[in-house]
């Protein structure tokens, strides 16, 4: 049945097995295109984005908790698409349900009136997205990238970019953030402020190799 060290045996039907010869160095086991048998194939190149919630998930309620995040990736990339609130509000982001003073962010903003400036917080209890943002359909968008989210030897850093419309004015804000923790991130909370709720929008969470 088997001829070489590393050969595998798999079933082709009930009570019927066959041999799969060992692959070559670096190959990974995958299911063939007909979804009928395993086969060896080249490993996917690094840098690939894997969508962890197929089709995206609707934003609703006062708080959205994304839990049981796989530790199989290098970075996480969270996209908040077309998000809206029930009234003027912003979003606070927390990791691992940590409400300690462990969050830092600094960066700049520019708005449609020509104003620009610094936006920053240190030793905060979460990361902010928004400038007491808008309600209604304002095509708001935000992206959050968390680097090395499972690294237990150092704290976390990442980036947040968001583009929001408040009344008739649009704000673009780009900040870097630090999160003082060496615990692998397995949970992200999106908390709407000002006693408001999400009133639309979709989030997509990608794992990045």
């Amino acid at each position: 049945m088997v001829t070489t060290a590393g050969d595998l045996i798999y079933a082709t039907a009930a009570d019927t097995v066959t041999r799969l010869g060992i692959g070559t160095a670096g190959q990974v086991l995958k299911v063939n295109s007909g979804a009928t048998a395993p086969e060896w194939a080249a490993a996917a190149a690094g840098g690939a984005y894997t969508l962890l919630n197929s089709g995206g998930t609707a934003l609703s309620g006062a708080t959205v908790t994304i839990s049981s995040i796989s530790g199989d990736y290098t970075d996480l990339y969270l996209i908040l698409e077309d998000f809206q609130f029930s009234g003027s509000a912003n979003i606070q982001i927390r990791f691992n349900n940590d409400s300690g003073n462990n969050y830092y962010q600094s960066g700049t903003y520019v708005d449609g009136s020509g104003s620009s400036g610094f936006k920053g917080n240190a030793e905060a209890t979460g990361l902010d997205i928004g400038n007491d943002g808008s309600s209604g359909n304002q095509q708001n968008v935000g992206v959050i990238r968390i680097f090395n989210y499972t690294d237990t030897s150092s704290n976390r850093v990442g980036q947040i970019n968001y583009f929001m419309k408040v009344s008739s004015n649009s704000f673009l804000t780009n900040v870097g953030f630090g999160y003082k923790s060496t615990t692998a991130i397995t949970r992200i909370d999106l908390i709407v402020g000002n006693s408001q709720t999400f009133n639309g929008g979709t989030y997509y969470l990608y794992g990045v190799k």
Partner: protein, 70 residues
């Protein structure tokens, strides 16, 4: 009534329910903290505007103070 949406991204299971007592307590605590921070920022902005008005009454600007190294 505050609704929390919990999405187990590994299984795809989504649960929407009212916050429990602990979650609600944290939510209210956060809300008060953020309101206090917002008020502090607003107070700073008012104080800055008032200071600028005082400078203007003296014929000075913030750039004049910077030029003096203040």
């Amino acid at each position: 009534m505050r609704i929390v949406k919990i999405h187990n991204i590994e299984t795809g299971e989504i649960v929407e329910r009212e916050m429990n007592a602990d979650e609600l307590a944290q939510y209210e605590k956060d809300k008060l903290k953020r309101e206090a921070e917002k008020q502090l920022a607003a107070d700073k902005a008012v104080a800055k505007t008032a200071a600028e008005a005082k400078l203007a009454a003296l014929g000075l600007t913030a750039d004049d103070l910077k030029a003096l190294g203040l």
